[in-house]
């Protein structure tokens, strides 16, 4: 049976970081996947990485490494763009989260990208892989969300 995994940005970061204590666990999980499985990222993750690249001011040549790394991810993984089917999921989820947590209007803005990523995962019936604590909360509010933490 094919499973689709949607990797959040933090999982990508751990995997690329030789110093990360989480790297081996994530690698081990990837090794256990079958070739039929799909590993993907949301276009939101690429927005974040692109913003990171644009604001990276290290001139020792590592900017090229950064740029090539993003190109590699774009070439190797499936990339899910935002989709009209995700509109209602986003709106409903954000409202549920606001009601459940009582989070102030200004603070919830920081989670908008998380809601977009969740909407994409649900739309594609993908397992969202992330180490962010918010997804453990969102899974309680949205039963259609499948979440795994490989860390």
């Amino acid at each position: 049976m094919q499973t689709i995994y949607l990797l959040d940005t933090n999982i990508i970061s751990y995997l690329t970081d030789s110093n990360s204590p989480h790297r081996d666990k994530i690698k081990k999980k990837l090794l256990s996947l079958s070739k039929e499985d799909i590993v993907s990222v949301s276009i939101v993750t690429l927005y974040e990485l692109s913003y990171g690249l644009s604001t990276y001011n290290n001139y020792d040549g590592s900017k090229n490494i950064f740029e090539n790394g993003i190109e590699f991810i774009k070439d190797y993984l499936d990339i899910y763009p935002l989709d009209v089917n995700e509109i209602d999921i986003f709106g409903s989820l954000k409202a549920k989260y606001k009601q459940a947590t009582g989070i102030p209007k200004t603070a919830i803005k920081k989670n908008d990208l998380d809601f977009l990523i969740v909407a994409t995962a649900i739309n594609h019936n993908a397992v969202l892989v992330s180490n962010d604590a918010i997804f453990s909360k969102l899974i309680e509010l949205e039963p259609n969300l499948k979440h795994e933490n490989w860390v």
């Binding site: 970061s13 690329t16 030789s18 994530i26 090794l31 974040e48 590592s62 920081k110 908008d112 990208l113």
Partner: protein
């Protein structure tokens, strides 16, 4: 030259038969192992194992640190008016 075919996977049996042949018939024995029909387990890397290897060290620690900071910046007020 005479060809003697031993159809067996049991090394012990093969060696016993070869010893008999050598001793009884005073033969010089050359062993050719035919593995053409053998089920040889070849471990091939899956696409995801290859991906994991290529991702390892893809970014420098400095880049990863920067992503951590810039990611938070990118998320703050991304959709300011919703």
């Amino acid at each position: 030259m005479t060809t003697l075919q031993i159809d067996s996977n049991d090394k012990k049996t093969i060696n016993q038969l070869l010893d008999i042949a050598k001793n009884k018939f005073h033969l010089d024995v050359f062993v050719i192992e035919d593995t053409s029909n053998a089920k040889v387990k070849i471990e091939t890397k899956t696409k995801w194992a290859e991906f994991a290897e290529k991702m390892d060290g893809l970014f420098t620690p400095d880049i990863v640190k920067h992503i951590s900071t810039s990611r938070k910046e990118a998320r703050d007020n991304f959709i300011a008016n919703i």
